[in-house]
């Protein structure tokens, strides 16, 4: 079954959390970030072109203007391909592992998969981010050498940065599945 709710991120933008429940042992969360707004795009383009025009009046070289256009286009393409993330997906399968997918605005997708054997726990942690204190969800990985130690902390939804209410939703569902998995693994 599926459901969709809207939340907000730490800066106040609208986020959409799309949850798909496949089975008691399998769950998928998809967090959609706000699209690139026309206002910010127009603002950046205007700034770049005004600066180029200023340089043009100084240097009297029309190459500057065409260069500014190229820079704007290339910059936009690069931003869409490398920086702007549209969706972030978290897929948990209790016997298999956790998979995180980030899909960029240009269609590129990058995936990270963590085996269930390496996952120690999923927690909500606090962090100081610039001038704010924010909450973020992260996966704790087991240390192969020390049984009770933690080798790595993997944050989830890094670019979406949802607020605590959204995180609590995800956290509850993850804990259910992890508990299910632990129960299944410890039972003979």
């Amino acid at each position: 079954m599926e459901d969709e709710r809207s939340f907000s991120d730490i800066c106040g933008g609208r986020l959409a959390l799309h949850r798909r429940y496949y089975s008691p042992s399998c769950l998928e969360f998809c967090l959609s970030c706000p699209r690139i707004s026309l206002r910010s795009l127009t603002a950046v383009t205007c700034t770049v072109w005004l600066a180029a025009y200023g340089l043009f009046t100084l240097c009297e070289n029309s190459m500057i203007l065409s260069a500014a256009i190229f820079i704007t286009l290339l910059g936009l393409l690069g931003y869409l391909h490398f920086v702007k993330i549209d969706h972030e997906t978290l897929l948990i399968i209790d016997s298999l592992g956790i998979q995180m997918t980030s899909s960029y605005a240009s269609g590129k997708e990058s995936t990270t998969f963590i085996e269930m054997g390496k996952v120690k726990d999923v927690i909500i942690n606090e962090a100081i981010y610039m001038q704010k204190v924010i909450y973020y969800l992260c996966i704790l990985l087991k240390d192969p050498v020390e049984p009770h130690g933690i080798s790595q902390v993997v944050p989830i939804f890094q670019s979406a940065k949802p607020r605590l209410d959204c995180l609590i939703e995800v956290y509850r569902s993850c804990q259910e599945i992890l508990a299910h998995q632990k129960a299944a693994s410890t039972s003979p």
Partner: protein, 677 residues
């Protein structure tokens, strides 16, 4: 981790365990058939490796699976059926597929079904609950996971590092889950060798069915690579055999080969090419990477070299280079000549040793003259030589650069010669000065023990070094010191050193060569018996300034003692000489003078006249002396101080007392240079 797994669908159907089915993406569009793979009961997962198509003979399928199992040690079996339906449903196929379950019995039996053109799949896994075929079947929950077979297969190239031992627990079970899948796929390469397009009894679909290579060119290149590599390997072995032949071994040639960087580079290139075209397969991923890296670097090098070659050939640049070479050489020679003329004059106002200046200056000028003549001789041929050397850029940019560096070194060979001459002379002077330095500290180089030992010198030897006593009294005997005590005149030595230092301004001497006798002016004290001679007149304001050592010597002289203890002795200031700057001529030794030698005669022979001592074996080296000592039964004879024998004494062995603090207690004597005066 790259995107190898893709969850498509999980079916909720009835109670039971979750069964994970790993399905390769390449088989998603295959026609109906049997699913072949491995069942891993610990993780309850089925890894599908391939699809067997209709028509097939079950016996042959079982044979193939047995062969694969034997070859790869992977428990390959028929896991279930795969149905890829057309738009119109085929009921008969459905029944047929169900009937196959009885033929190839496997628990659980997997049934995957897909409508062509739609995204919905049907997955069913049935398990019999009893031993008999009529027992009720229960269905498991199926989780279908897609995996990219080619990438999973190839990921075995870098096997993960062995994990440390863990306690038994749930961690090991699930960690082994994915590793088991990877392992299964990687080890089943044997299964992937035959394809549905092959003419074998069984037609399979797996990742190879998409085409072994995307392009036919790559495929052809792969087939042709074998014979081409063999041919190249033969040629390279011929070349290396030719280069290792004995014609190039004798000393002058081997020295030249070792100095030229081109030869080094060619050898390196030969090694690289041999590695790349060798017929042996790489043993492991590390070797494979090394081979691949070498190949890419060789290709890149050759590409850059060819680029350079094309640029050089474009606008007749060889001719320009050849034309520019001779004027540049002329210019350099002219500048060098100016420099030498300046040095031969009074450079920076310094007063120099005129004779040495002239000698060195003329020597170097002649060198430059010779070199310029050779360059002018060679100028008509330079263009051709450059053109032919430029062809070597085909072998790579590095070879071209090494040839360029060799050309530059050959063209500036004369400058290198100047450096060598200057450095040698500088080293000689440094060595001499360091011996003098040791003298004034009261130390000496012990040749036998190869170390610096303390030593007490005779006053005469210290005078020989060019430092006269203040009072002027002292032994008038002029004994030529042995080489162990330096025979240099200090002032002269320093002045010559200064001149030489100016003549080779670039390079400090970094090594010490042997001291050449005869290069340094040796004072010839013939006829001078009393007082310091002109050779010792010197200076020694310079020596005084430099040396602060041993001030106790004049005190000892004043006390009338002839022997100066080694360590702890201090220097004394010397009077200013009237003409310290006048150069003195080099005085050659007489032809009848034998070279000075240091011997260690036995104690028994001390004080004897030389001819008699020689009869008794004083001329023998120490090792032989030890042998002889056993034969001699005479006790050592103590001698009176030999001052009484000084006058007119010609053949004497003088003892020297070594410093008491350290060093050997052996008496060291020196043989007189009596023949010299």
């Amino acid at each position: 981790m790259p995107r190898l797994l893709q969850l498509l669908w999980a079916q909720l159907s009835g109670p039971g365990m979750v069964l994970k089915a790993f399905f390769p993406t390449c088989c998603a569009s295959a026609d109906s058939g049997l699913l072949v793979g491995r069942w891993v009961p610990e993780q309850s997962s089925a890894v599908v490796l391939a699809v067997v198509h209709f028509p097939f003979i079950p016996v042959q399928v079982k044979e193939l699976l047995a062969q694969v199992q034997q070859a790869s040690q992977v428990g390959v079996a028929v896991l279930g059926t795969w149905c890829h339906r057309r738009q119109e449903p085929e009921e008969s196929l459905g029944h047929f597929l169900e009937g196959l379950g009885t033929l190839f019995s496997h628990e659980p039996w997997l049934q995957l079904c897909r409508e062509r053109g739609s995204k919905s799949w049907n997955c069913k896994a049935t398990r019999r609950q009893g031993p008999t075929p009529l027992a009720p079947a229960c269905e498991d929950q199926v989780m279908l996971i897609f995996y990219d077979q080619r990438k999973v297969l190839l990921s075995r190239l870098h096997p993960p590092a062995a994990l440390p031992e863990r306690q038994a627990g749930d961690a090991t079970a699930s960690a082994g889950g994915l590793a088991a899948v990877f392992d299964t796929v990687a080890r089943s390469e044997v299964l992937f060798q035959s394809d549905r397009f092959d003419e074998g009894p069984v037609r399979l679909t797996h990742w190879q069915s998409e085409g072994v290579e995307a392009s036919i060119l790559v495929e052809l290149a792969k087939r042709a690579a074998g014979p081409v590599c063999l041919l190249l390997a033969c040629l390279l072995s011929l070349v290396s055999a030719a280069s290792a032949c004995r014609v190039f071994r004798p000393w002058p040639l081997s020295f030249i080969w070792s100095k030229l960087s081109t030869c080094e580079q060619l050898r390196h290139r030969l090694d690289q090419l041999t590695l790349v075209v060798s017929a042996h397969r790489a043993e492991g991923p590390a070797q494979l990477m090394r081979k691949a890296n070498t190949l890419v670097s060789v290709l890149l090098d050759m590409a850059l070299g060819l680029l350079l070659l094309s640029w050089l050939h474009r606008k007749d640049r060889f001719a320009h280079l050849a034309e520019a070479l001779v004027p540049v050489a002329d210019r350099v020679a002219e500048e060098l000549q100016h420099l030498l003329q300046w040095l031969m004059g009074a450079p920076a106002g310094l007063k120099m040793n005129r004779a040495l200046d002239q000698v060195l200056g003329r020597f170097f000028l002649y060198h430059i003259h010779l070199w310029i003549s050779y360059i002018h001789l060679m100028s008509p041929f330079i263009e051709h030589i450059l053109w032919h050397l430029g062809l070597s850029a085909c072998l790579g940019l590095t070879v071209a650069l090494s040839i360029l560096s060799d050309i530059i070194s050959l063209l500036t060979f004369h400058i290198y010669c100047f450096y060598v001459y200057g450095a040698r002379l500088y080293c000689l002077k440094i060595h001499g000065l360091s011996s003098l330095w040791r003298l004034f500290r009261g130390k000496k180089w012990n040749v036998l023990r190869q170390r610096v030992d303390s030593c007490s010198y005779d006053l005469d030897q210290v005078w020989r070094a060019g430092i006269p006593p203040r009072t002027g009294e002292g032994c008038p005997n002029w004994h030529q010191a042995a080489v162990g005590a330096p025979p240099l005149d200090w002032r002269r030595g320093y002045a010559v050193h200064r001149d030489l230092a100016l003549h080779h301004p670039d390079f400090p001497a970094s090594y010490h060569g042997p001291v050449l006798p005869g290069v340094h002016p040796a004072p010839a004290p013939s006829g001078h018996r009393a007082g310091p001679g002109p050779s010792a007149r010197g200076p020694h304001q310079l020596a005084a300034a430099v040396l602060a050592w041993p001030p106790a010597v004049p005190a000892l002289q004043a006390c009338g003692r002839r022997e100066v203890p080694g360590p702890g002795a201090r220097g004394w200031p010397a009077p200013a000489p009237p003409d310290a700057d006048k150069p003195s001529a080099l005085q050659p030794r007489g032809a009848h003078l034998p070279p000075p030698q240091l011997w260690l005669p036995p104690q028994a022979l001390l004080g004897f006249p030389v001819p008699q001592a020689v009869l008794r074996g004083a001329h023998l080296p120490l090792e032989a002396e030890r042998g002889q000592a056993g034969l001699r039964a005479r006790p050592p004879a103590r001698l009176a101080p030999p001052s009484a024998r000084c006058q007119g004494g010609t053949h004497l062995l003088l003892p020297l007392v070594v410093g008491a603090s350290a060093g050997p207690t052996r008496r060291i004597s020196t043989r007189l240079r009596s023949w010299g005066w």
